[in-house]
């Protein structure tokens, strides 16, 4: 291979697709195609095959004889001798076809051709057209002139087929290869050509789903949209030049669901579109994706141990949190004999090995059920033990106290029983002026009621404070009414409607006081109230009743008569 061809092969390594050929040149000959300017007359290129052996003639390397000993037939695709070259001439208005040899770049300029030969025009493109340079027996008007002169001079030329019209004067389209001819021998190599592709500029946009925050290491979706829906190729999603995901463009969209970020914080993600044979690549504006450390699940287990299984002796509570290194604290809770759950220890730090341990002497006798709960520090997730530890503690072995004897003394007062009335010698009860009862010719006084339910201040009051609460009996006796020397019996006076009244804040119950009327007072004591219930109490009782005189003989002399009533209680 000549140095010139070597250079061309290197240039061809940019691997542009051949436009207008449609036979897979780009895929099969990525590095063996010359790129030529795209012109309206450029039809395409072809490969050569050995018409004697039906073997491909390798572009760039096969050294071919000028006289056609290698039987170079133009074929549309490597290995496919039935792949035609060119098109139906009627589709481009062609009426003739020439096989030609021309300076490179002058393929469509017939006046610049070095040599040519008209050949048959096939309807569906040329099949296995013989491309032997020596057979181009018509000399052209280019320089050098004639195939023999080209053979002698050597150099770079184009060899191809030109579709023509206007009686073979006007070139419509050309299919050709580049050839390099060794001066003198005419040995030549060939190189298919392709039209330089004018690529369409693109723009690319990017979106992230979710759009805000993702976890580090967790897959999320990135979508790039290329401005032209016919664009193909790939998109690389990059952060700071590092690819975090990629996808193939389909219908102008490339989506990856497996992008992930390794660095926490704000990440600027861009979509880099590769471009394809028709479209230029482009890079999107950045989308910011915040990455936070991904939550790390933890598990917590708990154990409890006591050296002597004795209540109130030191017991060790231990929680183990995995993975090791999980940051956070542990709290221990427990219940004894199925009772209420109580906190045993809180905020116990977890060490680097994942252990949180605390010793306590607060566990009482019984069977303890103990759990541990880990409160994680982000990104560690909190967790709690799922299986409780149990710890049975026996009674504490402490001595019991010696009983202490102590005498307590008190004095219960004997108390007293006091009965009082509102009246005295100085302040007698005035029954008022007697009224004559004509029917009986006796004197009577109005009824005086004392200690009524509404005015108990005038009541007979019994205050019993005697220890032993013996109960009491209240009696009344009276002297006769006297006025100097005059008198009349007290028997005309009665104490009736006797009733007991409850005094607030006193245990003596009025209902327990049994009262009785004294219809006719005398010098002898007569009982009007007793208090001897089944269970006596102490306190104050008020007793009311009515006093009046009836039937006092009219023989009694006028004057103010006074009798002295004595109330006693025992």
């Amino acid at each position: 291979m000549s140095a010139r061809l070597t250079r061309r092969l290197a240039a061809g390594a940019t691997a542009l697709a051949i436009a207008g050929l449609g036979l897979g040149f780009g895929a099969t000959a990525a590095s063996a195609v010359d790129t030529v300017p795209s012109t309206p007359t450029f039809g395409g290129s072809f490969y050569l095959g050995n018409g004697n052996t039906a073997a491909d003639l390798a572009p760039g390397t096969a050294s071919l004889a000028w006289n056609g000993a290698d039987a170079p037939l133009a074929i549309g695709a490597p290995g496919n001798f039935n792949a035609t070259v060119g098109v139906n001439p009627t589709t481009i208005g062609a009426t003739g076809i020439d096989v030609f040899l021309s300076p490179q770049g002058q393929e469509a300029n017939k006046t610049a051709w070095n040599a040519y030969s008209p050949t048959g025009l096939s309807a569906n493109g040329q099949l296995q057209q013989n491309m032997t340079p020596m057979n181009l027996t018509n000399p052209g008007t280019g320089t050098p002139t004639g195939q023999g002169a080209v053979m002698a001079a050597g150099g770079d030329y184009s060899l191809g087929m030109a579709y023509t019209k206007n009686s073979d004067v006007t070139v419509v389209k050309v299919w050709y290869v580049h050839i390099h001819v060794t001066a003198g021998t005419g040995a030549w190599t060939y190189q298919p050509v392709q039209a330089a592709v004018v690529k369409t500029a693109t723009t690319t946009t990017i979106t992230s789903s979710p759009s805000g925050t993702v976890n580090t290491g967790a897959p999320f979706t990135l979508t790039a949209t290329v401005s032209d829906p016919t664009a193909t190729g790939t998109v690389a999603f990059q952060v700071g030049g590092t690819t975090i995901g990629s996808a193939t463009v389909a219908n102008g969209v490339a989506t990856t669901t497996s992008a992930s970020l390794s660095t926490a914080g704000a990440n600027s993600v861009v979509a880099v579109y590769s471009g394809d044979s028709a479209f230029s690549g482009s890079t999107s504006a950045a989308v910011t994706v915040n990455a936070v450390l991904a939550p790390i699940s933890t598990t917590t287990t708990v154990t409890a141990a006591s050296a002597d299984s004795t209540a109130l002796h030191p017991a060790t509570l231990t929680a183990t949190v995995t993975p090791a290194g999980a940051a956070g604290t542990v709290s221990f809770t427990g219940s004894v004999n199925g009772g209420a759950v109580q906190t045993l220890a809180s905020n116990v730090p977890v060490d680097a090995t994942g252990t949180a341990s605390v010793s306590t002497t607060g566990l009482t006798q019984g069977t303890w059920t103990i759990n541990a709960a880990f409160t994680g520090t982000s990104p560690y997730v909190s967790s709690a033990s799922t299986t409780a530890a149990t710890l049975t503690l026996g009674a504490a072995a402490y001595p019991s106290a010696t009983p202490a004897a102590a005498n307590v003394t008190t004095t219960i007062p004997t108390g007293s029983l006091v009965i009082t009335t509102p009246w005295s010698t100085a302040t007698p009860l005035n029954l008022g002026t007697a009224v004559l009862d004509s029917a009986t010719s006796t004197w009577s006084t109005p009824v005086t009621t004392f200690a009524s339910a509404t005015d108990q201040s005038k009541a007979i009051q019994v205050v019993d404070t005697r220890a032993g609460a013996p109960g009491f009996t209240a009696q009344v006796s009276s002297t006769d009414f006297k006025n100097g020397t005059q008198s009349f019996p007290v028997s005309f006076m009665g104490l009736v409607n006797v009733a007991a009244h409850q005094v607030a804040n006193n245990a003596i119950q009025a209902a327990g006081v049994v009262t009785s009327n004294v219809a006719s007072l005398s010098g002898s004591a007569q009982t009007f109230a007793t208090y001897h219930p089944a269970s006596s109490t102490l306190g104050t009782a008020w007793i009311s009743g009515d006093l009046s005189l009836k039937g006092v003989p009219t023989s009694v002399q006028p004057g103010t008569y006074t009798a002295t009533l004595t109330f006693t209680a025992f």
């Binding site: 050995n50 018409g51 004697n52 052996t53 039906a54 006289n67 056609g68 000993a69 039987a71 037939l73 001798f81 039935n82 003739g96 076809i97 020439d98 030969s117 008209p118 050949t119 048959g120 025009l121 096939s122 040329q126 099949l127 296995q128 057209q129 013989n130 032997t132 020596m134 057979n135 181009l136 027996t137 018509n138 195939q147 023999g148 009686s167 073979d168």
Partner: protein, 369 residues
């Protein structure tokens, strides 16, 4: 179209060849001033196609070894031809024997029919093998392709009994017909007359040799034994109740449209089955050669291109590498005698389209004539 004169070799002639190759099968006299090819009518159509360019296979095939174009001249046409710019007119060689004679005259410079042909003929088409084999001969016969010779017969459509009788004749029946002194009256109710192509026809020579007929019987019209006799392998040459030798390859090529169809105009002209073996299969315009007929050692025949040995002998001062390439079967697309048919772009594929099969050998034979 017949072109009597080639004024020059140039743009105009090249263009003409290119366009003609697509439109119709090659039928014209050559349009190039390169090597001149003359002789057999049987090989004429396939050779015309190869040297003028043809797309009969779908590919454009044109053999022009080392950049030298060829001119293949029909066996029949205008009486005079001119093959080289430098040469004069001479009588058109009509058939294999005339072609070989012209080649010899071209080599020797001896006048032929009072005309000097020196250097005017390069290749002779021959549908039959050498007459005089000589290991030191001036000529070399290079196998071109294999043909089979059968016979064509023409019977009115109404006479189905005769058509049936003539559709298959044994070699013995044919021999009897051509040895007979008068027309056959036993095959059909109407006497059947044997006919032959003109006296220079290779097909005629081969056919008679195959039948073992050394002296043509009087039943054959005397005019058939002249160079002006019937053109070989063509329709319109015989009448009803006549038979004539016919190249199976030519029959197939014409039926398929590869060669100009001269038989279509004679719908009652049929190809007979020698010894019951029809040389083609298929119908209409889709005929294929039948190997059993072509490989028959009596009626199958190799056909040849004949050149001067000195010009293809690399040790000889007259050595012409371009001509040597044309008749070297190993030269593939540059060779007229290659019979590789794998690709549409190969000359062998073209010859197959013209009803030929591969020759029985590729070994050339040196001969005097």
């Amino acid at each position: 179209m017949k072109v009597r004169k080639l004024a020059s070799v140039g743009i105009a002639t090249g263009l003409l060849a290119g366009l003609v190759a697509v439109a119709t099968p090659a039928s014209a006299d050559p349009v190039t001033g390169g090597y001149a090819v003359v002789g057999s009518d049987t090989l004429q159509d396939s050779m015309n196609a190869l040297v003028n360019g043809t797309s009969v296979t779908g590919a454009n095939v044109r053999v022009a070894a080392n950049g030298v174009n060829l001119g293949s001249f029909d066996a029949f046409g205008a009486s005079k031809i001119r093959t080289k710019v430098s040469g004069g007119y001479f009588t058109r060689p009509g058939g294999s024997g005339a072609g070989i004679s012209a080649l010899l005259a071209s080599i020797s410079g001896n006048p032929l029919n009072g005309e000097t042909l020196t250097g005017q003929v390069d290749i002779a088409r021959s549908s039959s093998g050498p007459s005089v084999v000589n290991v030191n001969g001036a000529l070399v016969f290079v196998p071109f392709a294999r043909d089979a010779v059968a016979y064509a017969y023409q019977v009115p459509a109404s006479d189905t009994a005769c058509a049936s009788a003539l559709s298959s004749l044994t070699a013995a029946q044919l021999t009897a017909l051509y040895n007979a002194s008068s027309a056959n009256t036993t095959l059909c109710s109407t006497p059947v007359t044997p006919r032959l192509p003109q006296s220079n026809s290779g097909t005629r020579k081969f056919f008679l040799k195959a039948l073992g007929v050394t002296t043509v019987g009087a039943a054959v019209p005397a005019t058939d034994n002249q160079p002006t006799g019937p053109q070989e392998n063509a329709g319109g040459q015989i009448s009803d109740y006549q038979i004539i030798p016919f190249s199976a390859a030519s029959w197939i090529a014409q039926s398929n449209g590869a060669a100009p169809n001269t038989i279509a105009a004679s719908p009652t002209l049929k190809l007979g089955a020698v010894n019951g073996q029809l040389a083609y299969s298929g119908t209409g315009s889709n005929l294929s050669p039948v190997a059993a007929a072509y490989s028959d050692t009596t009626f199958g025949r190799d056909t040849y291109l004949v050149v001067e040995y000195a010009r293809v002998n690399s040790a000889d001062p007259k050595y012409d590498p371009a001509l040597a390439t044309l008749v070297d079967p190993s030269k593939g697309t540059n060779s007229l005698v290659s019979f590789v048919t794998a690709l549409a772009g190969q000359p062998g594929a073209v010859k197959a389209k013209f009803g030929f099969m591969a020759p029985s050998t590729t070994t050339p034979t040196r001969a005097d004539s």
